[in-house]
């Protein structure tokens, strides 16, 4: 069985959560340290978890995007390996240009931490074909792209998830996007924090269970 690689930077803090969620659906996770490159073929999928890599210095995800491990993540992305970026992981994938757009400060300037309803807008390798309820926890989660880029994202089915009620001012209510190949996806909500009923919901499981079919 191929492994699910979980990338860790200094300041990543959702790594244990995604590790346990991956184990829960019966897959084998493995850590990938930010200072090292890795053999792309050893992994069936990669996750860049949330947190505050490099303390959010300069811009969220900007410094992490230049770490050696991201070179390998980029190679994997080109080869079609599914890559998921959650929260800070989404910011890192945008800053490394594997995903379009950028995440900026929430419209109302506050860190927000609550459950949101999400609507799937397009099919990707990370699935989710039904509406989901997932938790968010971010200060800079407002998706931004220029007008013509936004239009291109809609036209090419790269808008993956939208919020039913926009919590942060994200343009077009966007909560998650994918690359043109649909294998690299990023979302601000945390699927790994909603994989059992005792957590308040288990809708996030769908995204991870999708990996069983890869």
């Amino acid at each position: 069985m191929k492994k699910i690689g979980i990338v860790r930077f200094l300041g990543t803090n959702c790594d244990r959560d995604i590790w346990q969620a991956v184990e829960m659906v019966g897959l084998k996770p493995e850590w990938l340290w930010y200072e090292n490159q890795f053999q792309v073929n050893d992994y069936s999928a990669l996750v860049v978890p949330g947190g505050f890599s490099y303390g959010d210095y300069l811009r969220c995800g900007a410094l992490a995007a230049k770490a050696p491990v991201m070179k390998s993540v980029g190679e994997a992305a080109v080869k079609g390996v599914p890559v998921l970026g959650i929260c800070n992981g989404f910011q890192i994938l945008c800053e490394s240009k594997m995903l379009p757009g950028v995440l900026v400060r929430n419209e109302k300037r506050k860190f927000i931490d609550r459950w949101v309803e999400l609507k799937p807008e397009a099919k990707t390798k990370w699935g989710a074909d039904k509406p989901m309820r997932l938790p968010i926890a971010h200060g800079e989660g407002r998706f931004y792209a220029e007008t013509d880029e936004l239009k291109r994202l809609w036209d090419q089915d790269q808008v993956w998830l939208t919020y039913k009620e926009n919590p942060n001012g994200a343009l077009d209510d966007i909560a998650g996007v994918s690359n043109a190949g649909k294998n690299v996806c990023g979302l601000m909500p945390h699927p790994e924090r909603a994989v059992a009923e005792w957590m308040g919901g288990s809708d996030g499981r769908v995204i991870l269970e999708n990996l069983l079919r890869i």
Partner: protein, 80 residues
Amino acid sequence: MKIGVKILPKNEVLDTQGRAVEGTLRAHKREVSQCRVGKYVQLDIGETDEAKALTKAKEITEFVLYNPLIETFELEVVRK
């Protein structure tokens, strides 16, 4: 030679920090029509030639210091 990099959020991008400062200024009767908050980065570049130093600083800025989607930048030679 020291090069200063001034980075500002683009005009069309909502600048939440600038808005917050505007709000405080207004609350203290020091109203301005607009305030934008950016970053200032100073690079000490091992070059004595000004043109070369500026070229290096531009490359560094485009590599990681600014994000062209949301920011603009200007370079200046730091004289003192």
